[in-house]
Subunit: 389 residues, 2 copies
């Protein structure tokens, strides 16, 4: 199994915020450098071989995700993927059309949609999900109650960023397809935390980070687009595309994959990184982390005023969870105090009208780390250190 | 002075194509890894510090380029920069407007313009420059003879990619400003080959690669935008932007600089890399390379049928030059033969109706490398190995 020794995290920090930027094992960074060195040995030869190398990386990823390699392109991050999708889809929208999203989405992606829709007279509707999140059926009902006959797309996260909640994406995609509504899923936090099967999930568009829960080097993500939608799906950045010297897999791959001279080393680590994570028993890591997460959430929610964002925390199966803070607490005060006094790095932020603490557990997280968090929160409660002024 | 030992190039290849992808000294790759390791030690702290680190990188670059640090953003490559500029400028164009470019431009950038202008009824005019390139005054005259009263922008390379020619950009920018025409300069090949002074050059928009002739790690380039144009200059990829937690320098910097989790390590090598190149006497490297280039072009053009693209090759001051092939020769045949028989990696391609060989000389290039090229071309001429079928 993986441990802290496989990562490069500082020993003097209790690092409980894997969710924001991930963390990468040294062996994957070394693999990245190996690709850079291969390029540097003969840069032109490397670029002649690159279309084949990228195809191999796509194939390894497609096997992992259960989809076709030619329906995937590598992108820098899922916000980039969302930008590409929003701009491409915006081209086919008409004035009066609507897009549906929810109030647990990542702010940068909502900005991307607003930017892509500017000047198009298309409305972004936002459905509200309460916290703790009600049953999956209730979430599905809320989504489709908010759908109108002008709703063309549904944009939702697979696992929400601020609240660490898994949404019932498969069911929503199925019903959306029945209604001819395009689904765009932001899976930023999904690969590594969930067993993804894109074929079964059946989203039209799915974008997600590999540099987060799968721990790949920074700047490694993917964008999946269902074959039927690929025809009118231009890239945001145009380079040689179909006029280039690639393998000419399809216009979609050609236009999106080769974006001029850039650092592709993170993408090329994919085959090794996936194999390595699996050889270190990713499922066992996940089980251990979920179990630690459940215990910790249970301990935190015994402190008066803390509530899980999940309505049944005993059934949590993710590696990331969230609790709302006692009503009178300031998120900023708590965050500052946790880092300054206890060197605990964790997300504590205002979300809507409440404070939320989001906790990440990964292979390097120890029971001691989690004990430190719980006891710090107990002290905070006992001494009112985080009560808003 | 730098030598081949500072780079990682294979010893069994005569590498004369620096121009396509550059080559990076090991010390810069190690610096890049140092930044990655700093991130990995505490990813969240690193991202809190990142706006300041990026500002420091922009300041170092601005000093090198003689411009204001707040008029610069880092981008992946100059094709990316051209895409951003083309999309931003397209927003302010009206039906019937025209953009002027020339027939020596990089194909991917012309594709970017065509894509940005799609559906806008804006014409891309292409002025032709003959080869060998006539006097600078003649180039300037051709440009402004092609300008119409609807020409809104001029897009030109500072050093042309296929033909390795320096265009009289300062003079063109000056005259364009007088006529209220926006200048967008693709300086892909300029930093490192020319002493750039963006203040004196006075282009409205200038984008260029640092990973090419300055040898930085791949994926490091910049986009300069004159202050007055920054207000309506949206990024292609929208992320947190002005809603983020950066230094809030300006909307322009905020919106373009932080594009979510990505690998910024190449950008952050900039201060060290510029200092290092200067401490290794970049001017002396350039003088030595230009001198070797002039001698080599002189030797090649003594082979019957080879002609310099430059009308006065004795005055060449770049590190990259080009010659047109004898009329009956096939560029593909020559390229294949040079690599297969002599392990010479060099650009030989069709350009318009002729074959062109483009030669790069950098710090690691030896006289032996250039001798190998000249003698191979002499053999090719003597034995007609590259004559088209």
């Amino acid at each position: 199994m993986l441990s802290r020794a496989d990562f490069q995290l500082r020993d003097d920090v209790v690092f409980l915020n894997h969710g924001s930027f991930g963390a990468t094992p040294t062996v994957m960074l070394d693999e990245q450098r190996t690709w850079i060195d291969r390029l540097e040995a003969q840069p032109v030869l490397f670029h002649r071989e690159l279309p084949q190398l990228m195809a191999e990386a796509r194939h390894a990823l497609a096997t992992f995700l259960s989809c076709d390699a030619d329906d995937l392109v590598f992108v820098t991050n899922s916000t980039f993927g969302t930008n590409v999708a929003a701009h491409a889809l915006a081209l086919s929208l008409s004035p009066g059309d609507r897009i549906l999203t929810c109030d647990h989405e990542y702010g940068a992606c909502i900005r991307a949609w607003n930017n892509a829709l500017r000047g198009r007279d298309v409305t972004l509707d936002v459905v509200s999900f309460p916290v703790p999140l009600p049953s999956h059926q209730s979430v599905i009902d809320r989504v489709f109650q908010a759908v109108t006959n002008r709703t063309r797309c549904i944009f939702l996260s697979h696992i929400t960023a601020p609240t660490a909640l898994e949404l019932p994406i498969a069911e929503i995609c199925e019903e959306a397809r029945r209604r001819n509504i395009i689904t765009i899923i932001d899976g930023s936090h999904a690969p590594g935390q969930l067993d993804l099967n894109l074929r079964e999930l059946n989203a039209d568009i799915y974008t997600a980070n590999l540099h987060k829960w799968l721990c790949l080097p920074k700047g490694c993500a993917f964008l999946f687009v269902r074959r039927e939608l690929q025809e009118n799906f231009p890239p945001l950045v145009t380079s040689w595309g179909t006029d280039g010297t690639g393998l000419h897999v399809s216009d979609f791959i050609d236009e999106h994959e080769y974006l001029g001279t850039r650092d592709v080393s993170a993408f090329l680590t994919t085959p090794m990184a996936l194999l390595w994570m699996q050889s270190h028993d990713l499922s066992a890591i996940r089980r251990r982390c979920s179990s630690l997460l459940r215990q910790t959430i249970d301990r935190i929610t015994r402190i008066p005023g803390f509530k899980s964002t999940h309505s049944d925390p005993a059934s949590l199966r993710l590696m990331m969870g969230a609790v709302t803070l006692p009503e009178s607490w300031s998120a900023t005060k708590l965050k500052t105090w946790l880092y300054d006094e206890h060197r605990i790095e964790i997300v504590v932020q205002e979300w809507g009208e409440r404070g939320i603490l989001r906790l990440s557990v990964h292979a390097y997280t120890t029971s001691d780390d989690l004990d430190a968090l719980v006891s710090a929160l107990e002290i905070a409660a006992e001494h009112n250190v985080a009560v808003a002024d």
